[in-house]
Symmetry: C2
Subunit: 580 residues, 2 copies
């Protein structure tokens, strides 16, 4: 006997056919002298009926022995159901079982295999193979495959060449922390797992590949959260002889195809472009969620006229207006927002409610002279809540940006069916790092500075702008790219600006600098975070839902117990000892 | 200006068009007052002509400055060549240059960018981006992409789901040596890079994915040779509810599609099946090259009648006949073969030449009584050379198998255009390891034993047969697969046979054994070595030719200098010290 078709794929047109199905027992009910089995496979659930009058005593006793998650093979005729079940795709039909074989048995599973799951994350990961049996999970992974298929077809049709780059690479000091792999053949030497194939793909451009792509694992040994895993997957592409607009157009076409192929959504092209400065000033984020408004306003000019030192002495005062929400936020609620605001460096949160044409709240008494000007400036309506942060521009933006997102979720202002893509462009080349006490690359040290600002590499680094572009979806950074440096002198100036000496630049990036001696073409590209993209397409808020075997927050796998101890022989072969 | 099309893609139908091309200067010649440039891009080479009378003095002086590997952009009209060059695909046309811009300059490259390369392997790898510029290399990587594209389309159409499995996994003791990755969060704990996603894909079957595939990197820390690299790529697939014949059929369909899509070759299906025992006995190899004959004959029965102790006292005497080659092998040549034979454990090599109906050579004097019987048995013709090994069956097979391959290459008996696929089936489950002094898995410990032989798990391990199948191409193991164990008791018996205690089995494979408690379906699959497959399709004899950035024989990369030393901070974070 061979399976004729998937159990979940049986339909009315199969009525009358004798078929063989295989799968898992999802449920057994004994009802009115008949035995009903819900048989589950990857395509869905199909009802089986065992009528004691029509089967052998052997089949009957096998049927009576069935428990949930037994693996079975059944053969019989597809018949119409007397009472159709419209909730199931197979609901018009059932299988009249003639023969039945148990292929494997099952103990009681630690949780029931169903979509509204009641199990801890750790239990789900410990029994991941059971968690993945749930229809919702199977759906996520089919979606994932359809997305990568769609991406590949698009890039294949545009003559991109899929090239595999090494996983055992060289550790470099810029960027996040590397995962290391000790070498057995060179004592004290290590490979690093790639954080991205950045330099490698640039070298492929130098090699004349012209258009490269890869769907590739990348690795960062950083602390984990919902949208981060130790290993993650990137849609990585690079092109030669194109400008940033070409690359953005090409990426938009790719996104549009994926959205059409997998969600049947027609996205509008081109995507909006927003400058980094506008994103920070209006949304308080370099990855703005444009599905809702509540933009940040700079009210400094208006409020400095009020007799309120907190406002008049601050470098900047910015505000967001939560429309029609004054009555929804108690003092206690606002205290919670204040605590939240402090996480972003704000010293506090000022607020007023606008009710019946008047400001109310603790600071209202400072505002009488400017109340109508402020109300006009913010176009306030009755019952609006206004939140102010008076601080440096960076702190005000970051705090109000975070509050904006939190409140939008709390107030259900977000349409989950919207997919708002946009480009954030005109990036600064460097970001100041308090931790490192120096400027660091906002993207990476190979990003091309704009022709107009490159002279600031030897001047004010905050003024250097990058030919870089991030693609943002619903408040998440979906990906980013840039044109790259292809001239040695400029690359050397860039590394110098980042604090490299000639020697350290040579030691770390000598091979790239040397490659620039031999006709390195102009080039640029982009990388898209695939896990995050799929997560958003699947409507999830954790990338673990779209990664088959993820790690937990301690970067370990509760199922296999990786990482684990290894033998002393293994350590000796690598010339390693444990301990500080 | 934007590139209109690839330089290598310009054809007669473009004559009269004004186009922009980009690429590398492959050659400049100044001839009869004109300047000729061979412009190279990934699609080929196109001739440019600069006529000083038709261009500005600026373009002319730029043209005169051009050297090999400069990157340029040119614009002009496509014209017919007065003298067509049939060796080039673009040979009917040339570009009459109107404008010319240098995008980047180049120093003299360490080797010329051309297919018949004169550079050491190390130089090629040190300047890999230049090596990859050679048309032949670009062709290999386009072939590689076309192969993976073809494979993906085939498996996508059969409803396989492409699922990514982890790279940071658990170290297991069976198999080759693992690459380890120290954990920062758990002192003294390590991940291992996967040697294959074997258990993971089995768990996906347990999860009900039914048909899985992945084109995936795998890792082995073993000594390197031409067809081995530290990281290599596998076409990995697994299915549920299918038998070995189904999986073989499906694989044959895949191979046939790849051969048609990428080489336009129609392979004959089904592939021949050969038992492991026949392969060893007739070809002296478990991966027989069937492109030529020269099969091994067991001549024990015939030669034991001769008065020659070397033959009569040996466990077995086997021979190969090198047709019409007696005059091609001097004593010195045969001495070399003898040295070669000793590498495989043979104590020596006996030989005779069959010339004018008589045996000649040092042992001919022992054979008069059996000479006509032996000549008949081996169907000898004039000028045949016969090589004998008298030893254990294993040594005789291995030695003559290796001699057979060596002589076929020496004597040019192999048609390089043949692609001989076959299945080797009926595998033993275990192989004796002298090194480990125990039986080890011939494939891996999850392979299903045949129903008829499984009872020998508690008896004679040499008699246990596996439901396993290798696919062989031209003497290379292209891939292999098997049905897998899906019942816990059988898996426990298998691990016990391999010397695991209940505790060590639990410690290493507890998660798999536990998974077998919950309705593990019958399943099986296969993996194909992609690098090796592409190597054979490209007609190369080293997988480095089809891997973009390979490692050398010391597992290091002469370009980036990986592996390299790392900072003491990195070691401290991992709680590691260097040294024994």
């Amino acid at each position: 006997m061979k399976r004729t078709l998937y159990a979940g794929a049986v339909r009315s047109e199969n009525i009358g056919q004798t078929v063989t199905l295989t799968g898992w027992v999802s449920r057994r009910r004994d009802l009115g002298g008949l035995i009903f089995i819900d048989l589950r496979d990857r395509e869905g659930i199909m009802q089986l009926v065992i009528n004691p009058e029509n089967v052998s005593s052997e089949v009957l006793s096998t049927a009576e022995s069935l428990r949930s998650e037994f693996v079975i093979e059944v053969r019989g005729q597809v018949i119409a159901r007397s009472q159709a079940n419209d909730k199931l795709a197979t609901g018009q039909v059932e299988l009249e079982v003639a023969s039945l074989v148990v292929l494997n048995t099952a103990k009681t599973t630690p949780f029931e295999i169903k979509d509204d799951l009641e199990a801890s994350d750790d239990t789900r990961m410990r029994y991941r193979y059971l968690d993945l049996r749930r229809p919702e999970m199977l759906k996520n992974f089919k979606l994932r495959h359809n997305v990568t298929k769609s991406i590949r077809h698009y890039l294949d049709d545009l003559d991109f060449i899929d090239v595999e780059t090494p996983i055992l690479t060289k550790s470099t000091p810029e960027g996040a922390r590397d995962y290391l792999v000790p070498s057995r053949l060179s004592e004290g030497h290590f490979y690093a797992l790639p954080q991205s194939p950045q330099i490698t793909k640039q070298l492929l451009m130098n090699a004349g590949f012209d258009r490269y792509y890869q769907i590739v694992k990348c690795f960062r040994d950083e602390d984990l959260r919902g949208d981060r895993q130790p290993e993650f997957t990137q849609v990585d592409l690079e092109t030669s002889f194109l400008d940033e607009k070409d690359i953005q157009d090409l990426t938009e076409g790719l996104i549009a195809k994926v959205m059409k192929d997998t969600k049947n959504i027609d996205v509008t092209l081109p995507f909006p472009r927003m400058s980094y400065d506008d994103a920070m000033n209006q949304y308080g984020s370099d990855k703005p969620d444009t599905r809702f408004d509540m933009l940040l306003s700079d009210v400094s000019e208006v409020v400095k006229k009020a007799d309120f030192k907190v406002f008049s002495e601050a470098p900047v005062v910015k505000a967001i207006v939560v429309k029609a929400a004054a009555d929804k936020y108690s003092r206690k609620d606002i205290d919670k927002l204040t605590e939240f605001a402090k996480q972003f460096g704000a010293k506090g949160l000022a607020w007023v409610k606008f009710v019946a044409g008047e400001f109310a709240g603790p600071i209202a008494k400072f505002l009488p002279e400017i109340s109508s000007e402020l109300a006009d400036y913010l176009t306030l309506s009755d019952n609006d809540l206004v939140l102010f942060v008076a601080d440096t521009l960076d702190v005000a933006n970051a705090t109000l940006g975070a509050l904006r997102s939190r409140i939008a979720r709390e107030q259900d202002l977000i349409d989950p069916d919207k997919f708002n893509f946009l480009w954030v462009i005109d990036w600064p080349m460097f970001e100041w790092s308090d931790e490192e006490n120096r400027y660091m690359s906002a993207h990476h040290p190979f990003t091309l500075p704009t022709a107009e600002s490159a002279h600031e590499l030897e001047g004010d680094l905050s003024k250097v702008r990058a030919v870089a572009y991030d693609i943002v979806l619903n408040g998440y950074e979906l990906g980013g790219g840039s044109l790259r440096i292809n001239h040695k002198d400029l690359q050397e100036r860039m590394l110098k600006a980042l604090g490299f000496t000639a020697e350290s630049a040579q030691e770390q990036f000598g091979f790239l600098l040397e490659a620039m001696d031999y006709g390195f073409p102009p080039h640029g590209g982009l990388a898209i975070g695939l896990d995050r993209f799929i997560m958003l397409l699947a409507g999830k808020d954790n990338i673990r839902e779209v990664i088959a075997f993820p790690k937990n927050n301690k970067a370990s796998d509760p199922m296999t117990q990786a990482p684990s101890t290894v033998s002393s022989k293994q350590l000796a072969e690598l010339s390693l000892k444990i301990g500080q």
